[in-house]
C-alpha cells in the first residue's frame, strides 16, 4: 500500500511570524487524517508546504519513503499527491467534464503530436470512461456539460474534489471542502470521501471547520494552535481533550460550563 506521507519538523517563518513551528505530521496508507485548529493556527500553511505551493523554512517531507522536500508542486502531483484549494481553483473556461479530464493528464498516454493529428481517440475514450464513472460516484453526472462558473458553490467544491480523485492519487489533501456547502451537503460529502478513500485505498488529509464531520470520518486528528501541534489522537481523544476546547473557545472547559 502506498500513500504514506510524513512531515517532520515542518517550520515556516514569515517576516517576524512563525506560521508553523516544528510540526510533525503523518498520514499512513489508507488513513483519513483530520487537521483542525482555530483560524490562524497555521493549517493552510502546513498544507501548502506539504503540497509544494510554499517553501519550508526547515523540516523534511517524505512520500512513500522518498524525500520530496524540495520538489515543485507539479512533480509531487506526478508522484500521486493530489490536493484541493481553500478557495476552489477551477478552470473556469472549461466544462465540468473538461475539468475532470485534466486530472487524467498524468495518465493520458498520447503525445501532443498524436493528439493533434487525431490519433488520441483511444486515450481520450479511456480518460472519459474513468471520468464518467468518478463523476457518477460524486453525483456530478448531470452537470458534466455545465460551465463550472454556473454551478452552485457546494457543487463547485465537489467538482474540485472529483478532479483530484481522477488523478488517482495515493494521498489526497483536502483544504476546507465544507466551506460553501450546506450541512446536508457537507455530511454527504464526508461520507462520500470516506467511502472513496476505502474503495481506492487512498489516504486523506483533510482540513475542515465542520468539526462534526471531521469527528465522524477521521481515523486520527491533529490539532494545531499558534503553529504548534496542540494535540493528536482518535476522534474520541480529541473530543475529550480540554485543551482543544480551550483552543476553540479561549478558556477552559470549567469556565465554559459556568
Amino acid at each position: 500500500m502506498s500513500g504514506h506521507l510524513i512531515g517532520t519538523g515542518l517550520t515556516k517563518r514569515y517576516a517576524g511570524l512563525v506560521a508553523n513551528d516544528a510540526v510533525d505530521i503523518e498520514v499512513r496508507p489508507g488513513e483519513i487524517v483530520g487537521l483542525i485548529g482555530p483560524n490562524g493556527a497555521g493549517k493552510t500553511t502546513c498544507f501548502n508546504c506539504l503540497t509544494g505551493a510554499q517553501k519550508l523554512t526547515s523540516g523534511s517531507i517524505t512520500l512513500d519513503g522518498k524525500v520530496i522536500t524540495n520538489l515543485p508542486a507539479s512533480e509531487r502531483a506526478g508522484m500521486g499527491m493530489a490536493r484541493t484549494f481553500q478557495q476552489a481553483q477551477l478552470f473556469k473556461h472549461l466544462s465540468v467534464e473538461e475539468n475532470l479530464l485534466l486530472g487524467r493528464h498524468r495518465h493520458y498516454g498520447a503525445s501532443a503530436l498524436r493528439a493533434a493529428i487525431g490519433l488520441a481517440g483511444g486515450a481520450e475514450r479511456k480518460a472519459r470512461d474513468l471520468v464518467h464513472s468518478i463523476a457518477a460516484q460524486c453525483g456530478l453526472t448531470e452537470v458534466l456539460v455545465a460551465p463550472v462558473g454556473d454551478l452552485p458553490f457546494g457543487t463547485q467544491r465537489m467538482v474540485e474534489v472529483a478532479r483530484a480523485i481522477v488523478l488517482e492519487p495515493t494521498v489526497l489533501l483536502v483544504d476546507e471542502p465544507g466551506a460553501g456547502m450546506d450541512s446536508t451537503e457537507s455530511a454527504y460529502f464526508g461520507a462520500l470521501l470516506a467511502r472513496i478513500s476505502r474503495e481506492r485505498d487512498m489516504s486523506v488529509l483533510i482540513i475542515e471547520h465542520d468539526v462534526a464531520m471531521i469527528l465522524s470520518i477521521c481515523d486520527r486528528i491533529y490539532v494545531l494552535n499558534f503553529g504548534k501541534l496542540l494535540a493528536q489522537g482518535t476522534p474520541a481523544d480529541i473530543r475529550a481533550n480540554a485543551e482543544v476546547r480551550a483552543a476553540y473557545f479561549g478558556s477552559t472547559v470549567q469556565e465554559a460550563a459556568v
Partner: protein
C-alpha cells in the same frame, strides 16, 4: 439541527437539472454549419471576378495569422505584440527558399520550423517568468526585427526580392484563385490540427494554465514547456502566413509591412472574431482583409476603423463575433425553454429532508420581515 430550514431556502436551486432542448444538442447543428461554411469557401471563387480572389487570398492569409494569435491569446492568455515580425521572417526567408527552387511543400515545413526556432529565443527567457515580461519581450523583438534585421539587404534583398509562385502539390498558384486554394489547404490543415489539440489533453492543459497556474501544477502539469511550445506553434503558423503573403505580392514588401504597429493591428483579429473559438480567426481575418477595399471606398484609414471596432468589441463584453453568436444562441435556447438552465446540488434528491422548520415561538414588537424565520429557544427560569 434541522436541515429543513436550509432545504426550504434552497429548494428552488435544487433538483433542477440540465435538460438539453433541441437547440442545445448543438453537435449536429455545428457540424452542419462547418460543412456549409467549407463548401462556401470552396465554391465562391468559381463564381466571382478575378479581383475578389486577391482579397480572398489575403483573407485566408490573415486568417492564418489570426489563428496563430487565437491559439496564443485565447488558449494561453499570452499577448504577443511582435507577431508581424514572424510574418516578416516567414516572408523574407520563404522568398530565399523559393528562389533557390525548394519545393513549396518543403518550404512551408521549413519556414514553420524556422519561425518556431526563432520564437524560442525570446520565448524561453520570458515565458518562464510570470506576468507581462513576455509581452514586452515580443514588443522589443518586433522593433529589433523591423529596424535591424529586416532592413539588412541580406534579408530583404537590395530593393525587393521577387517571390516566385511555386505549385503546392499540383495546385497552380500563378493565379490569385489558385493561391487562394493553396492557402485554404494549409489553413484547413492548421484548423484541423488546432481543433484536435483543443479537444484533447494539450488544449485542456493550456486553458488550465491560463485559468490557474497553481491548480494546474496540482494536476501534475509542468507549466513552462506548454507555454513555450504553444508560442512556437503560433510563431510557426504566423511565419507560414508570411510566406504566402510574399507570394501574394510576388515581391518582398518593405519592413514597414511588418512593423510593431502592424502587430498591434493583427491583434484586432482574435479580439474582433473571438479568441476562444477557432472560427474567430476566420471571422477576424475576413474582417481585416475585406475591410481593406471597403475603407478605400469610403476614404477612411483601415487602422482607424479597426481600432474603433476593437474598442467597441472590448466594451461590449462579448468575446468577439463568435462569442456574441454563442451568447445569442444560449439566449434563444433559454427563451424557448422559458427559463435559464440551472444546475442543482450533487447530493441525491432522496436524501433531502423537506419537512418544514420547527418554529417554537416568535417574539418581538414589530412583525419580523416577511419570509424570515426566527428561531428562539425558550429556556425556563426566573430572573432574580
Amino acid at each position: 439541527m434541522a436541515p429543513g430550514v436550509k432545504n426550504l431556502k434552497n429548494a428552488a436551486d435544487r433538483g433542477v437539472k440540465l435538460t438539453g432542448g433541441p437547440l442545445m444538442s448543438g453537435k449536429r447543428v455545428e457540424a452542419g454549419g462547418v460543412l456549409i461554411l467549407a463548401i462556401g469557401l470552396l465554391v465562391w471563387p468559381l463564381v466571382t471576378p478575378e479581383v475578389a480572389h486577391f482579397y480572398g487570398s489575403l483573407s485566408a492569409i490573415y486568417a492564418l495569422i489570426g489563428l496563430s494569435l487565437v491559439i496564443l491569446v485565447g488558449w494561453t492568455g499570452q499577448i504577443s505584440l511582435g507577431h508581424a515580425a514572424f510574418v516578416g521572417c516567414g516572408c523574407y526567408f520563404g522568398a530565399k527558399l523559393l528562389n533557390n527552387d525548394v519545393p513549396l511543400v518543403l518550404t512551408v515545413v521549413l519556414i514553420g520550423l524556422i519561425g518556431a526556432a526563432i520564437s524560442l529565443i525570446l520565448g524561453i527567457p520570458s515565458l518562464r517568468l510570470r506576468g507581462v515580461y513576455f509581452t514586452i519581450a515580443t514588443l522589443a523583438f518586433g522593433a529589433a526585427c523591423q529596424q535591424y534585421f529586416f532592413t539588412r539587404s541580406e534579408v530583404r534583398g537590395i530593393a525587393a526580392d521577387q517571390v516566385p509562385r511555386a505549385n503546392l502539390v499540383g495546385i497552380q498558384t500563378t493565379t490569385d484563385r489558385g493561391l487562394y486554394y493553396a492557402v485554404l489547404v494549409v489553413l484547413a490543415i492548421a484548423l484541423v490540427l488546432a481543433y484536435n489539440t483543443r479537444r484533447t489533453d494539450v488544449g485542456r492543459v493550456l486553458f488550465a494554465i491560463r485559468d490557474s497556474e497553481q491548480a494546474a501544477a496540482a494536476m501534475a502539469i509542468k507549466i513552462a514547456p506548454y507555454k513555450i511550445g504553444l508560442f512556437a506553434a503560433s510563431a510557426a503558423l504566423a511565419s507560414i502566413a508570411g510566406l504566402f503573403y510574399g507570394m501574394l505580392f510576388q515581391a518582398t514588401p518593405a519592413p514597414e509591412q511588418f512593423s510593431v504597429l502592424q502587430s498591434l493591428f493583427y491583434l484586432a483579429m482574435p479580439v474582433l472574431g473571438g479568441a476562444e473559438a477557432l472560427l474567430g480567426a476566420l471571422v477576424g481575418g475576413a474582417f481585416l482583409a475585406v475591410g481593406q477595399p471597403l475603407v478605400n471606398l469610403f476614404d477612411v484609414r483601415l487602422f482607424l476603423m479597426t481600432s474603433i471596432a476593437l474598442l467597441l468589441t472590448l466594451l461590449s463584453g462579448f468575446d468577439g463575433v463568435t462569442g456574441a453568436l454563442k451568447a445569442g444562441r444560449k439566449a434563444i435556447a433559454d427563451a424557448v425553454r422559458g427559463e435559464p438552465v440551472r444546475y442543482g446540488s450533487f447530493v441525491p434528491h432522496e436524501e433531502h429532508d423537506h419537512s418544514p422548520p420547527r418554529v417554537h415561538a416568535t417574539v418581538g414588537e414589530s412583525p419580523p420581515p416577511v419570509g424570515s424565520v426566527v428561531r428562539v429557544r425558550i429556556v425556563p427560569g426566573v430572573r432574580p
